[in-house]
């Protein structure tokens, strides 16, 4: 409907411009198309904005109105009970059968709900259409040969672009606010110090108040330790393998081999993590366990080693592509200087190129670490749930991301410390990765500038 109007407005604006110009385009200030767009913007933009605003707000307003004249008996109901009631009303409108204590109330409310919804829709359409008409009339009045339509249209376009780029900023603010807000609520239940330094993690809130440990324990140290352990194993795999393969590709391999091998290595980065998780849980973990048993070691079936190994493989391409970049950025003159003195290729690489590229490599490794810490699916599928505080890679450990997932998946009430704890963990994760990223990006950038 609005699209139709928009098209009409465009044609109309162009036509109007022609008419006022006395049939000669050259007297117009802007191109006819600009006038068309101008009319289009005036007609549709306010209407669309209103439409979006309205449809976001209308249900809330209706709810408030509906709840305003509740029976006296229900005035004292809590927010949750009211929410349940409204849910029942909506479901009954959709034709689902609703089990409720007082069906009359539900049907009564349902009817009123429907009435109000209808009224709101009518009102909405009338306002939207009149806004369109008003915009169109305004455009008709404004469009003259000397009207600077182009400037107006361009101003709108640039504003739109600014809005687009602000979304990126809003995302960060959204992340920070949402996570921070919920975390603060969590810290009302559990002190920050206990969360950060507590050694015991068992977030199950008990069903009965008098049960032992009914409040749950929220000491996140075992999670941090588990995360670090798995990330460390991953880095032990990824750093040497990634670094050496990028060195081989950059320094030894011929052009032809490089063009074949590099994309092959990058495939590793393109495989979804859930696939790695599946592979880790169903193939690598049993393999590690069997190998351990064969060696006479006791290995948990969800050992940190299996998850870490697979995660390390996943991270190889990150390490190798960044170190490839940095190694290639080391000037040729540096290599020649070393060769010219009679150094072998490996001596040149170890004693000149790697020291020269070190800052960049360190930055790349930091990025990879932040990647490992934030990685979710592999650990969710292959690492355990039990929060063990151990440095033994053969035991099962749990990580921050695993706990976030387990705490938030399934039924949840939003006030329990259990769900809120997930946000506190999320906040920690966000801050740590953010710091790592900022440092890493800074190091890499400074390194690049050095050789530019």
């Amino acid at each position: 409907m609005i699209c139709l109007l928009a098209g009409a407005a465009f044609v109309f604006g162009r036509h109007r411009a022609y008419a006022t110009s006395g049939k000669s385009i050259s007297t117009l200030h802007s191109l006819p198309g600009h006038y068309g767009l101008y009319a289009l913007i005036l007609t549709t933009l306010p209407a669309v904005a209103l439409l979006m605003f309205w449809s976001m707000l209308a249900p809330r307003v209706i709810e408030v109105l509906l709840l305003a004249d509740l029976p006296a008996a229900m005035q004292g109901w809590s927010q949750e009970q009211l929410g349940l009631l409204l849910n029942d009303v909506r479901n009954s409108l959709k034709g689902y059968s609703v089990a409720s204590d007082n069906p009359e109330l539900i049907t009564q409310f349902g009817e009123r709900y429907q009435d109000m919804e209808q009224a709101s829709n009518w009102l909405l359409w009338i306002t939207v259409l009149s806004l369109c008409a008003g915009g169109l009339a305004w455009a008709w009045y404004k469009i003259r040969a000397d009207h600077p339509a182009r400037h107006r249209v361009e101003a709108v376009a640039v504003t739109g672009l600014i809005a687009c780029s602000l979304i990126a900023l809003l995302t960060t603010i959204g992340i920070v606010l949402s996570v921070l807000f919920e975390s603060l609520r969590f810290f009302q239940h559990v002190p920050v110090t206990e969360f950060l330094f507590g050694l015991d993690w068992s977030p199950q809130t008990a069903i009965r108040e008098d049960q032992v440990g009914s409040s749950g324990a929220f000491g996140a140290v075992p999670l941090f330790a588990g995360t670090l352990l798995i990330s460390a194993i991953a880095m032990l795999v990824a750093v040497p393998v990634g670094l050496m393969s990028s060195i081989y590709l950059a320094e030894y391999a011929s052009q032809r081999i490089r063009t074949i091998l590099k994309p092959l290595l990058e495939i590793l980065a393109g495989i979804p993590t859930v696939v790695y998780g599946f592979f880790a849980a169903l193939t690598v973990a049993p393999l590690v366990r069997d190998a351990g048993n064969w060696l006479g070691l006791e290995v948990a079936s969800e050992s940190a080693l299996a998850a870490g190994l697979v995660m390390g493989i996943m991270i190889i391409p990150f390490v190798s592509s960044i170190s490839d970049d940095v190694i290639s950025a080391v000037p040729r003159a540096m290599r020649e200087g070393s060769y010219g003195l009679g150094a072998t290729q490996s001596e040149t690489i170890r004693r000149v190129i790697i020291p020269a590229a070190l800052p960049g490599i360190v930055g790349g490794i930091l990025l990879a670490v932040s990647r490992a810490i934030g990685e979710t699916m592999i650990v969710v599928m292959a690492a355990g749930l039990a929060a063990n505080l151990t440095a033994n890679p053969l035991e099962a450990v749990t990580t921050v991301t695993v706990q976030i997932v387990t705490l938030l998946v399934g039924d949840q009430e939003f006030d329990s410390p259990k769900t809120l704890a997930a946000f506190a963990l999320g906040l920690t994760l966000f801050i740590v990765t953010l710091i790592l990223n900022i440092i890493a990006l800074q190091i890499v950038r400074r390194y690049r500038e050095q050789y530019d």
Partner: protein, 296 residues
């Protein structure tokens, strides 16, 4: 004996060089079949390096065409010529630096003290330790001044103790005329020095390996005149102990530092001879044209 040949050949040379604007193909055909016979004395008494019929190809492109030249012991020889004439390429053949470039193929025969350096039995690491190289742009390693100079002795295992190494570093820096300027900041990064100091550091780094020949690829082109003067002075001193091959785009520099001069043109060695003679009495038209500034 050679001189007689030269006179007889001169007319043909002139003809070959005189063909104006022949197509690329014709040029190549003419030149690759030794159209230009080198003028002047390519031989020396007691040669250290002997090159015979050297060709260098980058892929399909021929960069050096049939160059033969001998370089004497403790001689400073300058290679001059317009840019892109292959003088640097030729220089890099002498310690096999061209091996690094994948597409580069070297043909012909280059001997150091009578041993073919491109033969299978020659070890390139040993060769480069014997034939050191200084590059166009100063390229100190991102290490301390001390470590820069100590790099060569360390990798080659030339010294046994820290004291010997200290001594070797000091010696090299002294001979490069840099000691007094840096002796108080040996542990600071070599990249912090000025351009001229960096280049002298690179020379010190090269002589720390105690090579027998030093190749210099336009060592002063990135330096200011004062730094250049210092380097030239240094070359003069070094020439007492080393054979030095210097590529330069500056004829004045060639005239100042070298005993012999070789003139390259489009990958060919046109003329070689005593520096003074080349500059005062060039025998080949192309050499004359370059010296008198008609092209370059």
């Amino acid at each position: 004996m050679r001189a007689a040949e030269d006179t007889t050949m001169e007319t043909t040379n002139d003809q070959a060089a005189g063909i104006p604007g022949g197509t690329q193909k014709e040029d190549e055909k003419l030149t690759s079949e030794a159209a230009i016979e080198t003028v002047g004395d390519i031989t020396v008494e007691n040669p250290r390096i002997q090159c015979h019929n050297v060709d260098v190809f980058y892929g399909d492109k021929q960069a050096i065409k049939n160059v033969s030249i001998e370089i004497g012991r403790n001689e400073v020889i300058a290679m001059i010529g317009p840019s892109g004439c292959g003088k640097s390429t030729f220089l890099r053949c002498l310690n096999r630096m061209n091996d690094i470039i994948e597409s580069c193929v070297v043909k012909g025969d280059i001997q150091l003290d009578g041993n073919n350096i491109y033969s299978k039995s020659t070890d390139v690491v040993t060769l480069r330790a014997q034939v050191g190289m200084v590059f166009q742009r100063p390229n100190p390693f991102p290490k301390s001044i001390y470590e820069n100079v100590a790099y060569g002795p360390r990798i080659h295992g030339l010294v046994d103790s820290k004291i010997d190494l200290d001594e070797a570093v000091e010696n090299s820096l002294r001979r490069a005329g840099l000691w007094d300027e840096v002796k108080d900041r040996l542990q600071q990064p070599g990249t912090g020095l000025s351009g001229g100091q960096q280049q002298r550091l690179c020379i010190a780094r090269t002589i720390a390996v105690r090579p027998e020949v030093i190749l210099m690829d336009e060592p002063c082109s990135a330096l200011d005149p004062i730094a250049t003067a210092k380097i030239e002075e240094l070359m003069d001193e070094l020439s007492q102990n080393y054979t030095i091959v210097i590529v330069t785009h500056s004829m004045q520099q060639a005239a100042r530092v070298s005993k012999r001069t070789a003139y390259f043109h489009l990958g060919e060695l046109v003329e070689v001879g005593d520096t003074r003679r080349i500059f005062t009495n060039p025998q080949h038209r192309l050499t004359e044209g370059y010296i008198t500034g008609r092209f370059g």
